[in-house]
Amino acid sequence: MSNPPSSSPALRVDEQTVEEMRHHVRRYLIVGVALAIGTGLTVWASLFNFGSREINIVVALMIASCKGCLVAGFFMHLISERKMIYSVLAVTAFFFAALMYLTVSSMAHENLVHIR
């Protein structure tokens, strides 16, 4: 199988696009390093005693959320996405929040229905 040529004859790439992409590439590399540091930080925080297991859980989930925001924001380009994508995600966020609310509220003792 022969490889296609390095640059496609049908693609026009102007200097501005190349410069813009180089800027993006630098940003992606910085985000990648930040994510690796965040991973190390997560492990360190899990081995450090913050006083209670609950605080350790909150710290770990906060670090994970920051890492998640970096991936979604920069790698998935959500910081500069179109309105329609935001609308889709807003609906998803609503139902996800509802799912979490139902889960957490089901664990509250006053809402438990005891069947004897």
Binding site: S6, Y28, V71, L89
Partner: protein, 282 residues
């Protein structure tokens, strides 16, 4: 008839079809993993005091896998940027590295799974508990204990298709005092070679998904995630290899395909970012 907006973005939304499609799909994936995370929360919160396991997984393997997936996310996005700059060879290199990362992730996951399948809890007739990794099983059981899940409830009897009374089991493990100690083994505890005559075994079970609710949710979440890694790697490979000719004919369509497969790959990375602390560290 040509399907409109398959390559060029629709003027009013600024999006091409596949991009809307992948985001709608990812929205459904958020709900799928969200439901499983809720199951995890319910199982964990409702577990009896002191009976939720800790330190059952190798943190360093989990951390390595996290770094591997993050690195692969960087190479995916660099591959896309290379195509936008018209650098096809660089794209091939970056996506090749992505595929190697996917294989590395799956290889490490397989090592972790194997570790659980050869890890046994053995309850002896006198009530003592032995816990460790199976080294040797000198029995006449019809299946290999190393590869198959073995659940024994009651005394193993000699003859026929079952174990012989003279058989013995060899574990590299330790003797926890009780169930609570088994759930929270001290970090870096000493192990020893344990030989158990088969006739003394009352109950034994490996740490497969059937072992308890923790292993059930662990295998469900990581297994589903691993399937996503496999699916993502297949799609990236198809675009990288057999479908690479599209680059010559229709580069914009090709770049769109790489972008869409990349979005899926980043989502897989995103899910693992949450799975790692939840399953390995907390």
């Amino acid at each position: 008839m040509e399907i409109p907006y398959a390559v060029k973005p629709r003027p009013d939304t600024g999006l091409y079809n596949a991009k809307v499609g992948i985001w709608l799909f990812l929205a459904s994936e958020v709900m799928l993993f969200g439901a499983l995370f809720c199951s995890y929360i319910l199982l964990r919160v409702n577990a009896p005091e002191g009976l939720w396991p800790h330190h059952w997984l190798n943190i360093w393997l989990g951390m390595t896998n996290t770094i591997v997936l993050i690195f692969s996310s960087v190479t995916v996005v660099l591959a896309w940027a290379s195509l936008k700059m018209g650098q096809f060879n660089r794209y091939k290199l970056y996506q090749g590295i992505t595929l190697l990362c996917a294989l590395t992730f799956l290889a490490i996951k397989s090592v972790e799974y194997r570790d659980k399948f050869i890890h046994y809890k053995v309850v002896l007739s006198d009530g003592r508990i032995a816990d460790g990794h199976l080294q040797k099983a000198e029995t006449t059981l019809p299946v290999s204990w190393r590869l198959q899940p073995v659940i024994v409830d009651g005394h193993l009897q000699g003859g026929g298709q079952t174990a012989t009374n003279t058989g013995r089991l060899v574990l590299e493990g330790w003797w926890p005092n009780d169930e609570a100690a088994l759930m929270n083994p001290p970090l870096g505890h000493e192990t020893q070679r344990i030989e158990i005559p088969v006739k003394q075994i009352k109950f034994m079970e490996n740490y497969g998904p059937w072992h308890n609710t923790y292993t059930a949710i662990y295998f469900t979440l990581t297994g589903l995630h691993a399937l996503h890694v496999v699916a993502g790697a297949i799609v990236i490979f198809a675009i990288w290899g057999p479908l690479a000719k599209v680059w010559e004919r229709d580069p914009e369509r090709y770049i769109n395909r790489v972008e869409v497969s990349g979005l899926f790959w980043h989502f897989v990375d995103l899910v693992w970012i949450f799975l790692f602390p939840v399953l390995y560290l907390l």
